[in-house]
């Protein structure tokens, strides 16, 4: 029988690894990720989880040990955040390029300097180009569900790429919410034993990751791109199956809230999209038809779905909790490239480094963006900073006067 338990987001992820029958976990402590591995260690100590922990000396080694374990044929997991993720960046490429499925949780946090342990999306969005699948949870239940799903998806022979489950630092990682835990038997049915393209075995001379002719290197990257396209299909299929098993459907890569009759969409990732939904309701009370498109997946990018949802709207407002400094928010760039600039677009970097953003804030800057669109006919503003209740001048210059 499934049971409802109150737990922090980090614990939800830890429990998901237990249900997934992960056998080896390698990790290094970094705030706000630490609870994940502490909880796993506790589950192992109590005999509730049959796994081994490799207590490595750094995040670079954490992913290397996870990779080594997965290459040896067992289900392996790690978790990190911020500087830790930056430190393991090289290994991200190595794991994906080897087509070795592993799952990692990234508890999103700002990257210094100056030191800041609070939520920001710089870290997780830095992984976009590495060949990992990247997803982002809105709440603790979803952090649990996505972790289980991620094992199933990454170990699908049509995919064979590693995957990241993102959850917002502190907002989810340290906040207690009710989470429904399934039966182990049902999970075992949903998630079969690990599959992977090759396993290191003594007596079988094969080389993983050795030198290749340049043409093969390029072909491998082409293959990985194909696998990402396959992953779209697999995510939808497996997400629907998840719904049948556990009652929560994940066949949509984008979680839409009041999108269909909306003139304006607020788009983004992570937990603050819950606030965006409240803001949308408020703006509707004021007469603006607003909906919310929350991207559950960043890689593969839900390109087709986004177009279906957003094309023909009057405007899309993208909330970015990070910035590709010198251009615009990474999500703004991703979303605007998918939409050929047809709707008006406004990018709003906000909440960076954990600056608190409430639904009132979202309603405020979204309304401002809508007014700009209505006054100017069509606008394209990559950066409209929102900081402590004020809207700030922008770069690159959009030609639109903001105040």
């Amino acid at each position: 029988m499934p049971k409802l338990v109150a737990m922090r987001g980090n614990e939800a992820v830890a429990y998901a690894t237990k249900y997934a029958r992960v056998e080896i976990v390698a990790a290094y402590p970094i705030t706000p990720q630490t609870i994940i591995v502490e909880k796993i260690d506790e589950l192992i100590s109590k005999g509730e989880m049959d796994a081994e922990m490799i207590h490595v000396e750094s995040e670079h080694s954490a992913l290397a040990a996870t990779y080594g374990a997965a290459s040896g044929g067992v289900r392996a997991f790690t978790a990190t955040s911020s500087h830790g993720l930056a430190y393991m960046y090289e290994m991200l490429w190595w794991t994906a390029g080897s087509r070795i499925p592993v799952v990692m949780a990234v508890v999103t946090r700002a990257i210094g300097p100056p030191w800041n342990i609070h939520v920001s999306h710089e870290d997780i969005l830095m992984t976009r180009d590495t060949g990992w699948l990247v997803s982002m949870a809105e709440n603790n239940q979803e952090a649990f569900d996505l972790t289980l799903l991620m094992f199933r998806i990454t170990e699908d022979p049509r995919v064979y790429l590693p995957g990241i489950v993102g959850l917002d630092g502190f907002i989810l990682s340290h906040t207690v919410e009710p989470v429904e835990l399934p039966d182990q038997e049902t999970v075992d049915e949903f998630l079969p034993p690990r599959r992977q393209p090759y396993v290191m075995e003594p007596g079988e001379p094969k080389a993983m990751g050795n030198l290749v002719p340049d043409e093969f290197f390029e072909e491998l990257r082409m293959d990985m791109q194909q696998s990402m396209e396959n992953a779209v299909k697999v995510i939808k299929e497996v997400g629907a199956e998840y719904g049948k098993y556990f009652g929560r459907d994940y066949s949509n890569m984008i979680d839409c809230y009041r999108c269909s009759d909306a003139d304006y969409l607020i788009a983004g990732i992570g937990s603050w999209m819950g606030d965006a939904k409240i803001a949308a309701d408020k703006l509707r009370e004021k007469g603006y038809r607003v909906g919310v498109a929350r991207l559950r997946w960043i890689r593969p990018f839900p390109w087709h779905d986004l177009r279906e949802i957003a094309m023909g709207k009057k405007g899309v407002i993208v909330m970015d909790r990070s910035l590709s400094t010198g251009h615009a928010g990474p999500l703004f760039l991703e979303i605007s490239s998918a939409l050929e600039g047809k709707p008006s677009m406004v990018g709003v970097p906000a909440g960076i480094g954990g600056v608190d953003i409430s639904h009132d804030d979202v309603a405020l800057f979204a309304e401002k963006a809508i007014q700009l669109i209505e006054e100017n006919g069509r606008v394209y503003i990559p950066v409209m900073w929102y900081h402590l209740g004020k809207i700030f001048p922008t770069y690159p210059s959009s030609g639109v006067k903001l105040d």
């Binding site: 056998e23 080896i24 390698a26 081994e52 490799i54 207590h55 490595v56 000396e57 750094s58 670079h60 080694s61 954490a62 290397a64 040990a65 996870t66 990779y67 080594g68 374990a69 997965a70 290459s71 040896g72 044929g73 067992v74 392996a76 090289e90 290994m91 190595w94 290191m200 075995e201 003594p202 007596g203 079988e204 001379p205 094969k206 080389a207 993983m208 990751g209 050795n210 030198l211 290749v212 002719p213 093969f216």
Partner: protein
């Protein structure tokens, strides 16, 4: 441990047509590794000459399974791999085959941590005393006075005492070896494989390309390093030091060949001034003094 050549596997573990330079000490060493451990070995190789020697996909120049890995990560990847194989009940010996840079410099942190955790792996440092694969740059294991492409007038620092550093982690087995003494190396590999926990073997590997000598001389130069006392063969078993032949006869300095015999064959020492040779001599003395001190403390001398 007595080794009978008839009992060693006949199988080839280094294939003809691999990408090694002529006279390469690493392919010699790898051959001995195969002879010692046979099909049980699963090898982790970070960036370095041996990542190239394997040759281009889809060919494979080594007759053992190889997990290639980024420079800093070999001991960690090997830890994960060894644990996974053990969990699956597979009878294997995971071996790291890393160069001097990958061991003493960039990979040192992961090596130290794996030693501290007591991972059940054999870590081999194939020490050709510089970053040969990228074009002969100095490493923490380049000896005093040696020319490299980043020490044009000769390195001014001494070699890191890696075997002692690893032994200080109190791991069950640390040994030095040389490609000039295959039986000694094979015996040490076999012994290491019979011990559970973290094992470290430091294999001296003279490189004709980086050291500037004729490729036919690799084994001879390796032997000269030992005969002059510049490279000492020994092992620490559970912290107890023992000299191995022929080094055990060389405690007496008069039994050692003059260091010049070793240096003069190598282009990398061509520029040496007499005071440089004195410094090299001094480094050798220091190393021997340390060994003698330890043997005395143990009551073996």
């Amino acid at each position: 441990m007595a080794i009978n050549i008839k009992q060693l596997p006949k199988k080839k573990y280094v294939m003809p047509g691999n990408a090694a330079c002529p006279g390469c000490p690493e392919s010699m060493g790898f051959k001995y590794l195969g002879m010692a451990l046979g099909d049980k070995a699963v090898v982790v190789i970070p960036a370095g000459c041996s990542s190239v020697i394997q040759g281009l996909w889809p060919k494979q120049g080594f007759g053992l399974p190889i997990l290639n890995i980024v420079f800093a990560a070999s001991a960690s990847a090997a830890s994960g791999l060894a644990r996974a194989l053990k969990r699956r009940g597979v009878d294997a010996q995971v071996v790291v085959w890393a160069g001097d840079g990958g061991t003493a410099d960039i990979g040192f942190q992961a090596l130290s941590a794996a030693a501290e955790r007591g991972e059940d792996i054999i870590y081999i440092c194939v020490d050709n005393e510089a970053y040969m694969n990228t074009g002969i740059q100095r490493s923490g294991l380049t000896p005093y006075g040696a020319w490299t492409t980043t020490t044009h007038t000769g390195k001014r620092q001494f070699k890191k005492p890696m075997p002692q550093i690893v032994a200080a982690h109190r791991v069950p087995y640390v040994a030095t070896a040389s490609v000039g003494y295959p039986w000694d190396f094979i015996a040490k590999l076999k012994k290491a494989a019979s011990i559970r926990g973290f094992k470290y073997i430091h294999l001296h590997a003279p490189c004709p390309v980086g050291w500037r000598f004729d490729p036919s001389l690799t084994a001879k130069i390796a032997q000269l390093a030992v005969e002059t006392g510049a490279w000492i063969l020994y092992e620490y078993e559970n912290g107890r030091l023992r000299l191995n032949p022929p080094s055990n006869r060389l405690i007496d300095p008069s039994k050692r060949k003059p260091i010049e015999e070793y240096l003069k064959l190598q282009g990398r020492f061509r520029h040496l001034k007499p005071e440089d040779i004195k410094m090299i001599q001094k480094e050798i003395e220091t190393n021997w003094e340390e060994i003698i001190r330890t043997l005395k403390v143990q009551g073996d001398l």
